[in-house]
Amino acid sequence: MDKEFILNLSNKANITLISTEVEHMVKELTLFNQAMSELYYVDTSNFKDEEEVTKTLDILRLRHDN
């Protein structure tokens, strides 16, 4: 994560950020990504309902695109 990444992201989110907010978000998103990476060690294969997960994802992405 660097400033350029955050500026690209803020562009996609349609939000202007001031420089201190950009620096703050570099730290925040790095921390969030680290926390998120721990979830990939959790085995969800036994109960993962692939169809439901895909359906939920599709709905959210469709809403986002519109």
């Binding site: 803020s10 349609n14 939000i15 950020l17 998120m36 959790v42 959210l60 986002h64």
Partner: protein, 468 residues
């Protein structure tokens, strides 16, 4: 004062609805400059409603909530009354219609005291992220009231209203209720219509009551939980007698307490929740420890899932479709939208929108949904063996304003991710006199059971009121 007792006093004419409304307006005038619970109060509007309520009482046409002074969280639409979700984005927004819950309260002849402060767009757990002001905890004004329904919880706690409406996405009713020493219930997802409620993450959001007792919460929930086809996620329920388990013996009911959440909590909280468990055991409940190790992933999964949905929901606030318009002169529409949003959203909303935008672009959202399903499955398995699950509502008591100690969602997000009903009621105080809450979780649509259990404990618990 509670709704149950006030109902008797209003009906017997020991007190009048106008007199009662004036009592609360006087308290708001006296204490709210310091506490900062309300964003909007209109004295003349309150008194007109109280006069109307008194006419209903005089004609014998009163209902359970007629003349009861209630505050409304500022993300719930109130016709003709500013509704800002505590954001600069909606600073001058006045809805042209009422939320379903407000329609139902109006049918009851309630008195709306005003609109209550919150974290901007319900994104936060401290009330520090309101654009307008920080609400303070009535027990210690250097400390936060919790959030996002912090204004609602602090107002009930400080007796600046008899009860209030809050909304809950990841603990926004139960957590501030615990911090402010009062009772709040997040109903089963689909029980209360969100029509007219400004959403944060609508796959998780629920509206619910915050009050001085579980009994009062039942009175409010009875009024709020009517079916509304305008919210397509609503369940058609015919089991909304929320008083069913009040006064019933609990001998033989099976209660599980979640060991991981007990160990996470501060010692004072752990001790108090143990007292609740021992009390229920003494009344005949069967108590067992249960393990839900996946709950520790709930906070991160919740953040990913809720921010993704929040990002989608807040896309419409761009200054063109809805919301604040910057005075800055722009070359094109895209730049104007970015400027409007950049100026109007606060730092926490921006943080969550950026995380949400990031999440929507990669596989993290898929993983978060899988973890959400895993936690839901864990709860479903637990409810095969237990009637009730108990845990601390928070791992710490209310912390100081600006202390950045925002790690209190761990105990609450699991029930939101699962859509289960949960109630927080006070069960003790730490060495500094700050309230401690116990969280009672029921299976889907079992609000009556958790209300009954909370009522039993409340009947013998001695509350310490805040000294204002």
């Amino acid at each position: 004062m509670n709704i149950k007792d006030l109902r008797k006093e209003l009906d017997s004419k020991k007190i009048g609805a106008v007199e009662l409304a004036k009592h609360y307006l006087n308290r708001i005038d006296k204490y709210d400059k310091e506490l900062g619970c309300y964003l909007y109060v209109d004295h003349s509007m309150v008194l007109k409603q109280a006069e109307k309520a008194q006419s209903l009482i005089n004609n014998g046409e009163q209902k359970e909530l007629t003349g009861i002074p209630i505050g409304i969280k500022d993300n719930i639409f109130t016709q003709g009354v500013p509704t800002t979700a505590a954001s600069k984005m909606l600073q001058n927004f006045v809805p042209s219609y009422n939320a379903h819950v407000v329609e139902e309260l109006e049918k009851q002849g309630y008195v709306m005291l005003g609109k209550l402060n919150m974290d901007e767009f319900a994104m936060g757990g401290t009330n520090e992220f309101s654009y307008y002001k920080i609400t303070k905890n009535p027990y210690d004004q250097n400390k936060v009231p919790g959030g996002s329904s912090g204004g609602s919880a602090a107002a009930v706690s400080a007796e600046l209203c008899v009860a209030a409406l809050g909304s809950d996405t990841g603990g926004s009713i139960t957590q501030p209720s615990a911090f402010c020493g009062i009772t709040g219930i997040k109903p089963t997802y689909g029980t209360v219509s969100r029509y007219g409620c400004i959403p944060y993450a609508d796959s998780l959001d629920q509206i619910g009551p915050i009050a001085n007792s579980a009994y009062d919460c039942a009175m409010l929930l009875s009024a709020l939980s009517t079916y509304d086809k305008r919210d397509t996620t609503m369940a058609k329920r015919d089991d909304t007698n929320f008083f069913e388990y009040i006064g019933k013996p609990i001998k033989g009911i099976k209660i599980g307490f979640i060991k991981e959440l007990m160990y996470d909590a501060d010692k004072a909280i752990n001790d108090c929740v143990w007292e609740v468990i021992r009390y229920y055991e003494s009344m005949g409940a069967i108590i067992n420890e249960i393990s839900m190790p996946n709950l520790k992933y709930g906070n991160v999964a919740y953040k990913a899932y809720s921010t993704a949905i929040g990002t989608i929901n807040l896309n419409k606030y761009d200054g063109f479709k809805f919301g604040y318009v910057s005075k800055y002169k722009h070359l094109n529409t895209n730049e104007a939208i970015k400027q409007n949003r950049g100026e109007a959203f606060g730092k926490e909303v921006k943080r969550r929108l950026l995380i949400g935008t990031y999440i929507l672009q990669n596989d993290h959202l898929k993983k978060a949904i899988e973890i959400k399903n895993l936690i839901k499955q864990d709860y479903n398995n637990a409810f095969k063996n237990y009637d009730i699950i108990i845990n601390p509502t928070t791992t710490s008591t209310a912390f100081k304003i600006n202390s950045k100690a925002h790690h209190t969602d761990n105990c609450t997000v699991g029930v939101n991710l699962s859509g289960l009903p949960s109630l927080s009621t006070p069960c003790g105080y730490d060495k500094n006199g700050m309230p401690i809450g116990v969280c009672i979780v029921g299976n889907y649509f079992k609000e009556a059971e958790i209300i009954g259990l909370a009522n039993l404990f409340e009947n013998q618990f001695i509350k310490q009121l805040p000294k204002l």
